[in-house]
Assembly symmetry: D2
Homo-oligomer: 368 residues x 4
Amino acid sequence: MRGNIIGERFIVLSFGESHGRCVGAVVDGCPAGLSLREEDIQRELDLRKPSSSLISTERREEDVVEILSGVFEGYTTGTPICMLAWNKNVRSEDYAELRYMPRPGHADYYAHVKYGGFNDYRGGGRFSGRITAGFVMAGAIAKKLLRKVLGIRIIGYSLEIGGIRAEDFTLEDAEMNRYGNDVRAPTPEAAERMRERIAEARERGDSVGGIVECVAVNVPIGLGEPVFDALDADLAKAMISIPGARGVEFGAGFAASRMTGSQHNDPLIIRDGRVVSEKNDAGGVVGGISTGMPIIVRIAFKPPSSIAMEQRTVDLRDLREAGLRVRGRHDPCIVPRAVVVVEAMMAIVLADHAIRAGLMPPVLGRED
Amino acid sequence: MRGNIIGERFIVLSFGESHGRCVGAVVDGCPAGLSLREEDIQRELDLRKPSSSLISTERREEDVVEILSGVFEGYTTGTPICMLAWNKNVRSEDYAELRYMPRPGHADYYAHVKYGGFNDYRGGGRFSGRITAGFVMAGAIAKKLLRKVLGIRIIGYSLEIGGIRAEDFTLEDAEMNRYGNDVRAPTPEAAERMRERIAEARERGDSVGGIVECVAVNVPIGLGEPVFDALDADLAKAMISIPGARGVEFGAGFAASRMTGSQHNDPLIIRDGRVVSEKNDAGGVVGGISTGMPIIVRIAFKPPSSIAMEQRTVDLRDLREAGLRVRGRHDPCIVPRAVVVVEAMMAIVLADHAIRAGLMPPVLGRED
Amino acid sequence: MRGNIIGERFIVLSFGESHGRCVGAVVDGCPAGLSLREEDIQRELDLRKPSSSLISTERREEDVVEILSGVFEGYTTGTPICMLAWNKNVRSEDYAELRYMPRPGHADYYAHVKYGGFNDYRGGGRFSGRITAGFVMAGAIAKKLLRKVLGIRIIGYSLEIGGIRAEDFTLEDAEMNRYGNDVRAPTPEAAERMRERIAEARERGDSVGGIVECVAVNVPIGLGEPVFDALDADLAKAMISIPGARGVEFGAGFAASRMTGSQHNDPLIIRDGRVVSEKNDAGGVVGGISTGMPIIVRIAFKPPSSIAMEQRTVDLRDLREAGLRVRGRHDPCIVPRAVVVVEAMMAIVLADHAIRAGLMPPVLGRED
Amino acid sequence: MRGNIIGERFIVLSFGESHGRCVGAVVDGCPAGLSLREEDIQRELDLRKPSSSLISTERREEDVVEILSGVFEGYTTGTPICMLAWNKNVRSEDYAELRYMPRPGHADYYAHVKYGGFNDYRGGGRFSGRITAGFVMAGAIAKKLLRKVLGIRIIGYSLEIGGIRAEDFTLEDAEMNRYGNDVRAPTPEAAERMRERIAEARERGDSVGGIVECVAVNVPIGLGEPVFDALDADLAKAMISIPGARGVEFGAGFAASRMTGSQHNDPLIIRDGRVVSEKNDAGGVVGGISTGMPIIVRIAFKPPSSIAMEQRTVDLRDLREAGLRVRGRHDPCIVPRAVVVVEAMMAIVLADHAIRAGLMPPVLGRED
């Protein structure tokens, strides 16, 4: 593969650029018989929209999804589903300067070298967070498939933003609150403090990072194909491929490295006649296989690289050092918008592995 | 794929079980013309041996590698290289009880469910850390290839064990010291304290986890195929597929999520006429592409699950809760032995991406 | 993979249905820096148009290609190239009857079973020859790439139609004549007789098959990755995936099975200081590797299944046998239109293997 | 992939060389719970043995298979199955001359160029028919799996050798007779004449080719993943990757290209309440999907290249033309031994597609 395809059975190909004609995705491998309409996808896509109250930008990304293939009379046909959103409101002129003035922290310079200067530099091109709109389109299908066939629900939220960590909440709290506030926090209190933290950074012309936590419940035992296509390994790959992700951990994660075996091991017990683990420090994956417990993953996002403060870079025209203020419309924190992207990637990997494990029929029953 | 293959161009297939006839690997895609002898692989394999001073076990894993194919007159031929080590000194009787008494924290129960009870449960079978011997064999070839063609060096070490973190050391210190002490610490001081920490856990019949840090230097700009086969995404997958890994991070990693953009962005500067970044909080990968700076990855390992202390589990014969003391020979800390495995996975991913990026010729020049 | 992707490094994903919104393809893996405009693709697509003089149909497939991504300022960027042609002039009502009356020789019934009745049956949906428009789009890029970087030319033509076989012609004749007549014959004489044969079948409400021969010249030694990704093996797969193909052979092909070794073996000789073979019964591929001689492949196409004559089928509504006359607009012979499709598949496979063999740089030099 | 792996879900990796330590294969993706012993594989491997009455060679290939992994207590575990046969009775000195004297019709010269002279030239190395022993090992597993789970039987035989074509026989005749004669003919009469034809060629120091026909019965409707992973496309690839194969066709095959649509289309009828086709010119695959009718494939094999008669080649040491008589032990016709190889490849592809189509459970029920 050349790099823009993920998955073995539920396959997603990403295409499009930030300032080209469109961004989109093709899904190959979705079972036939899933009821699917553009609204199903649009709903998820809308969750990725920037919040006007949070960010300095006026770019309104009114992404409207169109399904071009693979759906007939309201149901998936088992053939490739091509989806896209046309790019609108593109102000490429903001980026003219950046052709030769790579932004620190961005891929600009490295893409320039790798692609011999042929890369579409406008808005970062393929390296823009904008391409995650395609991830969300594919994820919307995966989510619906998982919910309908296996009853799996995926709940992501901003666990931490700019050092402000949400605390004292249950998964139910998170599920109820996260899409009710524009920072996707699991509690209103955290939302308030995170919003302030972002505003503060924005005013200084700076940006902040954070951590998304994502939980999948009702995942059956047995997803994951060790040793290399372990469920957590494939989730790690999917998460780290989201622009801005710098780390990923499962269950107790890095904290597990400071625990003893007697602390960390999840005892096996019988509950309601079934074998379950008493706690879930493993985060729902042991030996690369899902355990039936909730899958818990956390992804660290760096602060956005595009900031208004002056930064030091290099002018490639004459190879001299130079100062740069990134203009244009930028998010001071991508974590809130990344939540639905993380959920999408989780859904894509779980759908892929559910098919691989033989838990997803190639044709679904027709809905009434 | 069913799961035991990693890589697109430098492909590794893992086979073998802990208590079966052998453990091994096949490499498909190694360029022709690499000088390769069994000693090249044995040397790496020896670094994975348990240290008798550290662990309670007397199992002596005298892994002796044999190359079965793909090498002719001392050079790789460009065809599949099958390698294995025969299993010796196997005491399967230690595991008879475990057939129906899954060990907490291990994959025993989940593998039993997934594979319908057909899995080779002895010593964890495919879920044993023992299969990483095959990873190290493949990694030895990748390492040699990277060093010879691109001058890439890979330096892994135990950054932290049982909460003891090595501090105040340079990469040169680490390179010099790590294989001179049996905990693979980057400094003698850390080695001493880590060794004590492990001994203390072992005496209590417990185990400890830790963090491996691994650095690759001399990696050229341009490795990585975004958006999904980003270099960091593929490294994350490879690392998380190592048994016991619970988290992975790059450069500043999770700490980046608490930084501001102005702190985290690596300024671009000119040094010796080349564009480089002044610092390396990105850990050598930006936008999924290598930057030419050292690649820095950290992997969190949980404490080993097999501990002598009594734990609660379930007897599958009559589905009742039961106590279990894991007998047999087990490492109280796998971090020291994981170092060379992490290096191997780093090498495998870098070799794969070097070929994908067109930086590795299909045939090497014959050595004098 | 689920089936709609071909290639390892030059990857083509096919999407779209006969009577859906569009047909198209995405190419992932095209090197950066190839000069590419929609005209380059349109030219090839026009060669796939039905000839009004040959066929009974009035369906005018005015396919107009649009490039949606992966090209910037007239050059490929190294990122996925999504291309499509919107479907126009769709008369789906011709097909309403066919929902429950599968056409003999078509995939109608088998697709109905496989996809649980969710398949888009209109015009055969994904099983229509129409999807080969997407193959031609991808092939146009591959052809340009091969020509520009390696000087490879691909020449396909109708070797035989309805039993009329073109004879006494050179490759130069074929190259000059094939696109100058609407049956794509290598000589005007053959063209005349083939055209008559098609007309005769059409008048009877019947159809005829034929054989496409395709030759690639200037292919360097060494393409092909045995044992399974042998060049001829991958060509065979690509060719047989073209709708209507029933057989494929290389060089002397089936006739080789009746030759002796002393007749068939191509002697090696020196010409102009280079090792070449005196004749080319091997068809340019030996042991799965290109030999530097012209690659010669022949593909047998069955007669189109949609014919006006009454045929026997089954009415799926009440599972009784029934008579069927296929209405709508159909080609009495697909061979002439298949020529450019065969060329496209040849180009796709050669481009893929040229990259795999390290003969294609990831970035091309900028053209003047 | 680099080329030595075939299959998506039932994956086969081939390794080993003609005169190296062993030949073998690894199967990844075999469901757990298949009863499997070395005898199951040995039986198939024995069918590949050269017949002493047919050939001039005294090389006795006493291939004895060993299973190294993936089987526990007599059942597959769902993990990689590594199998090999050690090479014995290797007379490499017969090949010393061939290092610089490439045999016409063989891959010797092209492999020399592609792999920069690092290839193991002895006996053709990876290009020897000997590597098909590994194909047969993997095929034996696939065959058993198909028979047990789906009741699929695979029947291959020598349809034609040296121009002698078996006629007037039924599939039952073929199934009964093929392994009862050493040329694998479907009738004793054909066997007699084919044997004579081979003897005649051998005496002249020459060789002959032929055609293998292979039929799979009881294949359910729906195998195949169009458009590119069409069942016939994947079969074509698998067949052409067998050393010596020069063409492949399905059902009426090349003859279909001379039929009209009204002749070729298979009418759909009702038989025993099921929709079937009245005849089977399609050879059991339409639109890339299995039809439930027998799958019929024919593969043309060229005459072996290694012949005792003098041939013209090039001495690579001084780049001058030279005469060559190939010494050593060679088959004057590989068709009889290719039969079980063709069956193996058919089985591998069908097993792969049965899993892909969701028709093969990941765990089989335990046998009594």
